[in-house]
């Protein structure tokens, strides 16, 4: 807890009151001594004189002694009274701000509100707030000795010191990296979903297509989507335009990029803010470490994106067709097992996870690029529907899809990958998707993704009950 002084006026009963008391006692005592000395002086000068002077000398002498005696008694009595008043108010204010603070903490904990910076990914209890008049930074704008409900900035501006008085409307910044934050970065329930995978598996296209589908289907899902920041919205629109013009999204360069935030609001519920991460596949080792290290307290789940064309069996299966489309398909250079191993190693290093322990968060294993060749007929929706129809016992689409993809991975000699996934992850579900919808062919035909939203909704449904119905609906 920082004890640095705030640029605010502290409650009188927590600081200045005691300094004032000390100054009052000191000054009154000095005044008494001065008065006594003055009276003694007069008595000394008058006593040798006539009877009248002697009488005055007696009077002044008695007064001098009385000033010292009664002065001491007065300052003792007045100080006791003064301290009693100060302590009474101190106690009342202390109880007041403690109660308000604990109520606020309890309420925020119940609503699962906390601050996460989309830039440095640091979790904090509270951002730093700017004074709306002078711009001074208030690092602990909470009920405290600076005020129970409001803090008064040194400029005189009254600032709300609690969530209940719309403190979130003040401009705020991250206490770690000092980048500006929006109210939604604090006053919302959050879900954190990084998309992992090797280079060129299609993470950026997956992320933006999933957000695009989420925004498109928000009405049927019962949410009102919005972007917390204009720059996120601009980035989203830019990538959507690229996809609509048949261009693939620009490659992610940052090892640990800024979180892509989408706010989802449902009437009568607190807002939900998604933190989606699309780290560069090249910086895989350090990226996973950084991401997982930062998010270990609040990770909602992982999307593990697989490019099937990194699998030797698939490359062999389509060896006649691949050379012609290699540039368009851009098979990832990182073997799938290596990608998974790196996630697990990072979890062990940064989470302190035992080598035999399991990841508790849901892991969506998503096979991308199913638009290529006849993959859709091998592991896509038609096969799932056929399996459901052919099954002698009722089977859900989720189960059928999981069975089909798992069986196909085994046929593609990925038994070790499947075994690793199922041994090390508590909740695994297999999905297929095409984050572009078709292979890039240089034309301006729009890309229309398939199956990108379901993995995200599945993770969100497990992380937050508000998404559970949406996840079922999407399934």
């Amino acid at each position: 807890m920082s004890t640095a002084p705030e640029p605010a006026i502290k409650s009188y009963f927590f600081g200045k009151g005691y300094a004032d008391l000390r100054a009052t006692i000191t000054e009154s005592w000095q005044r008494n001594l001065a008065s006594a000395s003055d009276h003694f002086g007069k008595a000394g000068r008058l006593f040798p004189g006539e009877m009248g002077d002697k009488a005055q000398a007696i009077l002044y002498g008695a007064a001098a002694v009385s000033v010292v005696v009664f002065g001491t008694a007065f300052f003792l009595l007045a100080s006791v009274l003064h301290i009693a008043v100060l302590f009474t108010f101190f106690l009342l204010i202390y109880i007041g701000f403690t109660l308000v603070y604990l109520t606020e903490r309890g309420y925020l904990a119940w609503r699962q509100f906390f601050t996460v910076c989309p830039d440095c990914h640091q979790k904090s209890r509270l951002p730093e707030y700017y004074c709306r008049r002078c711009g001074e930074v208030h690092r602990r704008l909470i009920p405290s000795s600076y005020g129970i409900l409001h803090h008064t900035c040194t400029c005189g501006e009254k600032l709300p010191a609690t969530f209940f008085l719309k403190r979130g409307e003040l401009k705020s910044r991250c206490p770690e990296c000092q980048n500006l934050l929006e109210a939604g970065h604090t006053e919302s329930r959050k879900a954190f979903v990084p998309v992992f995978g090797g280079p060129s598996v299609g993470k950026s296209a997956f992320l933006f297509s999933a957000v695009h589908q989420l925004v498109d289907q928000s009405a049927s899902l019962g949410f009102q989507p919005s972007f917390l920041e204009s720059r996120t919205e601009s980035e989203y629109q830019r990538v959507c335009e690229q996809l609509a013009q048949g261009r693939t999204p620009d490659k992610t360069l940052a090892a640990l990029p800024r979180a892509f935030n989408v706010q989802l609001q449902r009437s009568g519920q607190s807002p939900r803010v998604l933190y989606l991460y699309d780290p560069a596949g090249e910086a895989f080792n350090e990226t996973e470490g950084m991401v997982l290290h930062r998010y270990q307290e609040y990770l909602s789940g992982l999307v593990f994106l697989i490019d099937p064309f990194t699998l030797p069996a698939v490359q062999e299966q389509y060896e006649d067709l691949l050379p012609g489309v290699r540039d368009a398909l851009k098979p990832s250079s990182l073997p799938v097992e290596d990608a998974l191993s790196r996630i697990l190693i990072s979890m062990e290093e940064h989470f302190g996870m035992e080598p035999t322990a399991r990841i508790k968060q849901p892991v969506a294993v998503v096979i991308n690029k199913t638009d290529a060749f006849d993959l859709e007929q091998v592991i896509g929706e038609p096969v799932v529907q056929a399996r459901i129809k052919a099954s002698p016992e009722p089977v859900t689409a989720e189960t059928a899809q999981g069975q089909i993809i798992r069986e196909q991975l085994l046929r593609w000699d990925q038994a070790h990958l499947v075994q690793q996934l199922e041994a090390r992850c508590t909740r695994v579900r297999y999905f297929t998707c095409s984050s572009l919808g078709r292979m890039p062919d240089g034309t301006t035909r729009p890309f229309e993704a398939r199956g990108v939203l379901e993995p995200l909704l599945w993770i969100l449904g497990l992380a937050d009950s508000a998404f559970a119905a949406q996840a079922r609906k999407a399934a």
């Binding site: 006026i9 502290k10 009188y12 200045k16 004032d20 100054a23 009052t24 006692i25 000191t26 000054e27 009154s28 005044r31 008494n32 008065s35 006594a36 009276h39 009488a55 007696i58 009077l59 002044y60 002498g61 008695a62 007064a63 001098a64 002694v65 009385s66 000033v67 010292v68 005696v69 009664f70 002065g71 008694a73 007065f74 300052f75 007045a78 002078c134 008064t152 900035c153 040194t154 400029c155 005189g156």
Partner: protein, 62 residues
Amino acid sequence: MADDEGIGGLIGALFMLVLVVTAVILAVMALMSVGALFGAGTALRNYGLAFSNNIKPERATT
């Protein structure tokens, strides 16, 4: 007769002396009481002045 007059004068003189001494003591006591009240008043005024000079809530700088 003359002895009776001498004793009477002595008693009268002693009485006068006691009277004068008592009056002086009372006068000194009265002066001291007034002085004590004056001193107490001074002490009270001193505390009041010190209180009003020092007890001020903190104000904003602008």
